[in-house]
Amino acid sequence: MTKIYFLRYPKETSSQPVIYHLIQRYEVEFNILKADIRPQRDGIMVVELKGQKEKVTDSLDYLKSLGVQAERLAGKVHRDENKCYQCGACTGICPVAALYIQRPGMEVIFDPEKCTACGLCVPVCPVRSMEISFDPMSDTTALA
């Protein structure tokens, strides 16, 4: 499973090799989507955790034990229609065909209903018209 979390580090933890331990001990894939960590300040990070469900849960417990606050986020992907020039490069990358070609006109259609917010299209789009944003999920699911 893949889940996206917003992490807030207390300043004492910021410099510890937290990510290294996560990968080593819990065998989770760790993809940093956004980070702002400065010495002697609280650090924040938006990360994607990928791995078996128990391992992801264990790694979150580990983070909490270090005083890191973790909040589950829901990713949302949106296309800037003014930027998209209908090249089609994203259609080969989207795993669920939320970006697809409509034949015979060869228009590139984005279907937000199908989109799982995996984010794969974001760096692939040559003009960066695919944008991902994160919103907190409701409280009950926040640390699921």
Binding site: Y85, Q86, C87, G88, A89, C90, T91, G92, I93, I101, R103, G105, M106, E107, V108, P123, V124, P126, V127, R128
Partner: protein
Amino acid sequence: MSDPKQESKFEVNKTYAEINARIKAGEAVVVTADEMTDIVRQEGPVEAARRVDVVTTGTFSTMCSSGVFLNFGQTNPTIKAQKVWINKVSAYAGIAAIDIYLGATEPAEHDPLNQVYPGDFRYGGGHVIEDLVAGKAVFLEAKAYPTDCYANTKCKKEITLAEMPYALLCNPRNAYQNYNCAVNLSDKIVYTYMGTLKPNCRNANYCSAGQLSPLLNDPLYRTIGIGTRIFLGGGVGYVTFRGTQHNPGAPRGDNGVPTRPAGTLMVQGDLKKMSADWLRGVSLRGYGTSLAVGLGIPIPILNEDMARFTGVSDEEIFTHVVDYGHDYTNGIARHYGKVSYAQLKSGEIEVAGQKVPTAPLSSLPGARKIAETLKGWIQSGKFHLGEPVDNLPSADFSFNPEK
């Protein structure tokens, strides 16, 4: 051009002057290359050549080997710029005091490039060109050594395209006539100028407008030559020479259409008259920056051969499948089969018995819009055809009379 009254091997013979006169009178029959395919199919090349005067083509995709010549205006005291950056992107200044060339693939200074692999390449020469055309102010820095006539040693200023005395889009290689279909047969993902390619041949990318593409409609460069007036970046431009890597000797099918990358064009035009809708800075992950260029060429139907050429359909245009996981970077000339653009556009091809999904990198809706725009310009009489003053190097070819 030959006098039509002389002996001609064609049944239909028109000259540029006649077609231009018809354009001026508002009588020219102009169709897009898509429409011409149907017309030739229904009426045959001779009838089509009688009826149609001009066929418009278009293509809109990333075209490396693009850039701009800029003259950024003198400073006081005057400067003979030696190093120049625009928005931190380095331009070549070794031309004259304040003449520079800024290339589309130049990354911004201090870009991490591929050190963080695959690099994002957020900003580079292509983006500077888009920003300029969009009317945005850019930050120009220049360094120089002083001379008696140019005393200034540095300059920093914000400047817009309108404030520059001169700006010429000058692309040494555009409008590639056909291009490879790219796959990746290695076991790791690769990030190429042909897009992101998954391992073990799980996707295929291609990059041509097919039957709408300019040089696929005039495969032997019989009308597209030095001096041809074109749609370039939303404005008017010209073919000024053969492009770099122009290779008329590439293998061709019975219809004269190359099945490999072949001809290319050097094009230029007044940047100030262009539009950011048709010049887009692009970031190709793991590869670098570039410029997506909108380009369209009108093809005069001088005779039935030109009707046959422009009547070409995606079913009759082929390219080869090339491995970018290993072969391309190691200079291995090998291919994994021939596919038509009709197959490519269907969304799936077969490579070595395996079904592979395809994706275009060239904007078909964009290409169609260019062909339509150019058609509108010609129909309204505001754009007439440029007769080439010289031809591009071509290959021997004649249609098989049996066919």
